[in-house]
Amino acid sequence: MGRKGNWLVLGLVVSLVIGMASVGFGATDKLIYLFYGEPGEADPATAYDMRSSTLINNVYDRLLTYEGSDATKFAPMLAERWEVSADGKTVTFHLRKNATFHDGSPLTAEDVRYSFNRVLTMNQPPSWMLSQMMNQDSTVVVDPYTIEVHLTQAYAAALGVLTHTVASIVNSAVVEANGGIVADQENTWMNQNEGGAGSGPYTLKEWIPAERLTFERYDGYWGAKALTKTIECPIVPEVGTRVLMLRAGDADVHDQFPETNVADLEGAPNLTILTPATFNIDFIALGCRGPMAEKAVRQAVSYAFPYAMALEFVYNGLAIRSTGPIPSGMFGYVDPAADGRYEYNIVKANQLLDAAGWTWVAGQGYRVKAGVELGMEVLAPIGEEVKMQEALLWQDSLRQIGFNLKIREIVYAMMYRTVRNHDTDGIMSGWLPDYADPDNYVDAICNSGNANAIYGNQYNNPAMDALILQAKSEIDVAKRAGLYRQIQEISFQDAPYIWVSQRSNVVILNNAVKGFYYNPILPIDFATLYKEG
C-alpha cells in the first residue's frame, strides 16, 4: 500500500474512534455549533458582544427571561415570580429554592445582590445598563430566597434590562476565590473560565482560544435538562470553510450566517435555512449640520433612497423595511400609514429642494444655495459590504436631485473619533439592541445627547427629548405606547436618519437537528437542541 493508503487507513481509524464516541440511541450525544469568531469574555460583567452572550446565556441564569420566541412576554427563570410596586420603583423577586451553581452550592438572594453590585463596582462597558437604574444600595436581601430591587428612578424597561447577560447571577464564593471584585477592573480569571460560577443548563467545559469551546450538560440543573450532552463549538472565521463543513455534515447549527453567502448553501439537501427577522436595524445618520441642518433637505434625501432596490439587491431579500427607530415586533412599534413613511420618490424630493431655494447650477449636476453646494460626506465602515453597497445605491440616486454624496471608507477603530469630532457629516450605521425595549433604541438614537455622542448627529429637538424622558418612567402600558407613537411621528417629520432595514438572522440547521426556536433578543438556546441519530 502506498503513502496515500497509509493516510487513508489512519484517517479511517481516527474517524472510527470519533464515530464510536458519538453513537447514541435516538438522539446523538453531541452537536456541533459553529462560532464565526472568538467570544470576547466569559464574564457577564465585562462581555459585550454577540459571541460572548451566546456563551454566557447558556452557562449562566438570570432572574427572568422571555417566553420562547416571544420577546414581549417575560418568563420566570431563577425567580419563580415577581411583583412590581405601584410606583414602578421597587421589584420584589421570589427565587426558586432548587437552583444550584455548577459546583453544587445553592443559589441564594445573597448571590443576586453580590452579582448586581459586582457589575456596578467593576464598571465595565455593559455596566451602564444596571447603573442607569440602580446603585450599590438598590438590591436588598429580604430573606435567603427573596430580594428587593429598589430602582433609583422608575424605569419601565427595568425587567427587560434584567434579562440581559450583564444581569446574570454568579457564584459569589467562586468569584471571591478567583480574584474577587476590583473597582474599575475586569476579572481576568472570569474572562476565560466558568469553573462553577454559573447555574445554567450547560457548563463551559473547555475553551481553547481560537480553536474551540466545549459545553457539557449540567445534570443538576433546576429546570428541564438539556437534551444534548455535549455542544462542541469550533471557531471557524472563514465563511467558505463554514459553508463546506455545513454541506459535508460536519457542522450542525450555525446562526448569524452572512446574508451575502446564503446562495452558497441553497440547494444543499441536508440543510434547512431559516431567516427570522432580528431586532437589528440599519440606518444612515444625517449629521444635521451644513445643508443637512435643513429639515427639507433631510426629507428630500430620505425620499431619494431606493428602499426596495436595497432590500432586494443588497440584502438579498433577507431584510424587511424599517420605518423608524423602533423595530417591527417590539412593544411600541407602529406600522405607519403610507404618508407616514418615506418611499422612493425623486419627483417629491426635487420639489422639496426647489421649494427650499436650492437651485440647479446650469450645466452642472448639482444644486447650490447662497454659494453652498448641496451635498455631504458619509462614512462607510470597511468590512461591512452591505453598508458600502447601500451607500453606492444612494449616491447614484442622489445625483438625480443634484445632491453630491461623497463616500469615505473607514476602519472601524477610526470611526468613533471621526464621528465624535464631526470630521464627517454622516455615517452608514445601525443599532443592535441590548434589551427588548423601545427605550434602548430611541434613547440612543434620537435623544440629542446620545445621538451626538454615538453617531455624531447634531439632531436636537427638545420635544423629542422630553417625550423620550417621559416614556422611560411611564408605567401605564397604553400611555407609554402612545408616547412611542408620537416619537416615531416626530422622527418621520424631522428625518434625522434614513431608516433602511431590519435585518434577518440567517440560521442554518442540519435537517437532523430539532428543537430550535428563535427569539430576536436572546442568543441561541442550546438546551432545547438535539440531533436525531
Partner: protein, 339 residues
C-alpha cells in the same frame, strides 16, 4: 573573529534592532487618528469608562513615556501588558498562539526544502527537457497562485470532494499540551492516534504554504545550479574524469546552494507572516489571526507583542543562515582579514 564571538555579537545586535522596531510601532500607533480606548469600550461606554482605559494604557501620555513604561514592564517583569480586546495577558496569548504558527511554518518550510531543492537540481541537470519544463511549470504555478486561492482549492478538493482530509482545525483529540506543539505533545503523551490526527490536520495548510516557497526555491536553485555547472572548476572536474555524482553533489551543488540558502532565511520569516490568510481559512489557532484581529481593534499591546516576536524570529533565522554559510562554504569567513 571566532564563530562564537560572532554569534554573541549578532545576538547582542538584536537589542538595538528590537528597540528600533518598538519605537517604530509606537510612532505608527501614535500618529494614526484612531481612538483605541473608545473602540475597546464600545459605542455606548460612558466618557469616564473610556477615561479609565486611557489611563490604564497610558494613552494620553507622551510617546516616550509610553515606550519607557512598556520597556520597563518587559525587561523587569517580562510583562507584555493585557490585551484590552481579549482581556488576557498578551504573553499568555502569544504563548498559546505562537506554537501553532511556528509548527505550521516549520512543517511547510521543510516540505518546501525537501521538494524544492531536488526539483531545482534535477531541473538544471535536464535543462530544456520534459522534466525541466514540468518542474518549471510547477514552480511558476507555485509562485503565481495567491495563497488563499490554492488554500480554498485544496480544501474543496481534499476535504469536500474526496473527503480525505479535515477541513479545519489542529486536532480533534484532547491531549495534555506540554509544549503547545501538537505533533510533539502527542509523542510526549505517547498517543499515536493523536499524532496521526494532528498530522492529518497539518497536511492541507502545510502543503498550501509550502507550495509557494517551493516554487521560489526551485527557480533559485535551478538558476544557481546552471551557473555553477558552467563554471571552469566543474568543467575541470568533469574533464579529469571524476564520477558524475561527485561532480554534481560535491563540486556543483555545494557551491550552488548559497543563493537558495540566503532566500531561505527570508522565506522563513515570510512563512510566519504568510500564515495569516491560511489560519483564517483553515481555522488554525495561530498568532497571525490573532494579530490581524488586534490590528482592526487597534489593540496596541497585542500588536506590539506580535511584532516583537516576529522581528525576533526574522533576525534569528537570518543569523542561522549566516552561520550555515561558513559551515557549508569554508571560504566564507565571517569578518575575516582582508588581503
Amino acid at each position: 573573529m571566532r564563530l562564537s564571538t560572532y554569534i554573541l555579537r549578532r545576538v547582542a545586535m538584536l537589542i538595538p534592532v528590537l528597540l528600533g522596531v518598538l519605537v517604530i510601532i509606537f510612532v505608527i500607533a501614535y500618529v494614526i487618528p484612531a481612538d483605541p480606548a473608545r473602540a475597546w469600550a464600545g459605542p455606548r461606554a460612558r466618557a469616564e469608562q473610556v477615561q479609565v482605559l486611557e489611563e490604564r494604557y497610558h494613552l494620553n501620555d507622551p510617546i516616550y513615556t509610553q515606550i519607557w513604561i512598556y520597556l520597563k514592564n518587559v525587561v523587569l517583569h517580562f510583562d507584555l501588558g493585557v490585551s484590552p480586546t481579549t482581556g488576557r495577558p498578551v504573553r499568555d496569548d502569544l504563548k498559546a498562539f505562537f506554537p501553532a504558527t511556528f509548527e505550521l511554518a516549520m512543517c511547510a518550510f521543510f516540505l518546501a526544502i525537501a521538494l524544492g531543492i531536488p526539483l531545482g537540481v534535477v531541473s538544471a541537470l535536464r535543462r530544456n527537457r520534459p522534466t525541466d519544463h514540468f518542474s518549471r511549470v510547477i514552480a511558476l504555478t507555485g509562485v503565481s497562485t495567491p495563497l488563499f486561492w490554492s488554500a480554498l482549492l485544496l480544501q474543496f478538493l481534499f476535504y469536500y470532494k474526496l473527503g480525505w482530509l479535515p477541513a479545519m482545525g489542529r486536532s480533534t483529540i484532547d491531549i495534555t499540551r506540554y509544549t503547545g506543539f501538537v505533533l510533539i505533545d502527542s509523542v510526549l503523551n505517547w498517543n499515536w492516534t493523536a499524532f496521526g490526527d494532528a498530522a492529518i490536520h497539518m497536511i492541507l495548510p502545510a502543503a498550501t504554504l509550502a507550495f509557494y516557497s517551493m516554487g521560489y526555491l526551485v527557480r533559485i536553485t535551478r538558476g544557481s545550479m546552471l551557473e555553477v555547472l558552467e563554471a571552469e572548476y566543474v568543467i575541470t572536474a568533469k574533464a579529469k574524469g571524476l564520477p558524475r555524482k561527485i561532480v554534481i553533489y560535491r563540486h556543483a551543488l555545494k557551491n550552488a546552494i548559497i543563493p537558495p540558502l540566503t532566500v531561505l532565511g527570508v522565506e522563513f520569516g515570510w512563512l510566519l507572516g504568510g500564515t495569516v490568510l491560511l489560519e483564517t481559512i483553515f481555522a488554525w489557532p495561530g498568532m497571525g489571526r490573532y494579530a490581524a484581529g488586534s490590528i482592526v481593534m487597534v489593540d496596541l499591546p497585542a500588536v506590539v507583542g506580535y511584532t516583537l516576536v516576529v522581528a525576533m524570529i526574522m533576525l534569528l533565522s537570518n543569523l542561522v543562515v549566516d552561520i550555515l554559510y561558513s559551515v557549508i562554504d569554508p571560504r566564507i569567513r565571517v569578518g575575516g582579514k582582508r588581503r
